[in-house]
Amino acid sequence: MSAYFEFLLRMGDNTLILGHRVSEWCGHTPVIEEDIALANTALDLIGQTQMWLGLAAEVEGKGRTADDLAMLRDAWDFRNVLMVEKPNGDFGQTLMRQFLFDAFHLEMLKGLTTSSEPRVAEIAAKAVKEVLYHVERSGDTVIGLGDGTAESHERMQDALNLMWPYVGEMFASDDVDTEMLSTGIAPDLNQLRIAFDAHVGAVMADATLTIPDSTFAHKGGKSGFQHTEHLGHILTQMQWLQRAYPGASW
């Protein structure tokens, strides 16, 4: 597996799995306005997935399509970070996960707009506009609920404590990231982390939430070494139709 292909899988699998997770709220959110907003976010992410996995399939050059990559791989072939697999939990947990991912995603996409690969830069330029809105909405909601009632504050602090150990993986550089940096395809994760910390720090301060004093980071998602038990459950639901009726289309 080439590093470039693997990097594209990471981008596409992050948006695919998170898009699916967020879509699970459709019809279940506390208010209809949030329901539509979350569904819009999920659709944006799935749209980005089509572009990333479409390019990944071309780069791989084995005749596979974006659909093949999304619907016919098993858990160990996925390269998404562990955070996006985490169950939705309550609404606060979903929005906290969304904000932490959005804040990473925004910096990553901004960096990718100047990628040495024109196709990557073009996809990033389209996606970054969507993600600018995602992070504004999720950030405002984190602030609203964090600096809200005693109960909403407590739920948001619990969500932050739960999600924080999954932040480190997004910025942990490995051989793939090193090659992407040296070839100018992707930005320096250490630089992204600085911008991420400033952004997230400011939002959490407004939200009156305390970032846990720990750098412990679960890992194994972006390398595919060890996903959480949740990924398999997502795939059984997401891939069911193509597995039961191979080649089905409309």
């Binding site: 208010v31 306005e33 539509i36 907003a37 819009n40 809105y133 504004e136 909405r137 405002d140 609203g144």
Partner: protein
């Protein structure tokens, strides 16, 4: 209901229109989230280039039961329409 967010009226200016038109209403906690909700609920299909939201409680409305006194008197005053003037040819198309 006590826990319900306030109601907002939403006005959208379309690609080709000069004025904002009322498109519907929604609930939101404050004006910023009302604009975001309006973006998500009412501009999904590229409907607009500008959004106004107004808290519904700030809209003063005429009462339907006063329709008679409010509007009927103008029904019999056709002379208020500017259709009784001869327009000189030099004016051209109006």
């Amino acid at each position: 209901m006590k826990n319900e967010w306030p109601l907002w009226e939403v006005f959208i200016r379309g690609q080709h229109g000069m004025s904002h038109r009322h498109v519907g209403s929604l609930h939101a906690a404050d004006e910023e989230s009302a604009i975001k909700n309006a973006r998500d609920v009412y501009t999904r299909r590229n409907e607009g280039v500008s959004i106004w939201v107004v808290a519904a409680r700030h809209i003063a409305a005429s009462s339907p039961s006063e329709k008679g006194p409010l509007y009927e008197p103008s029904e019999s005053k056709v002379y208020r329409h500017p259709t009784f003037f001869d327009i000189p040819d030099e004016v051209g198309a109006m």
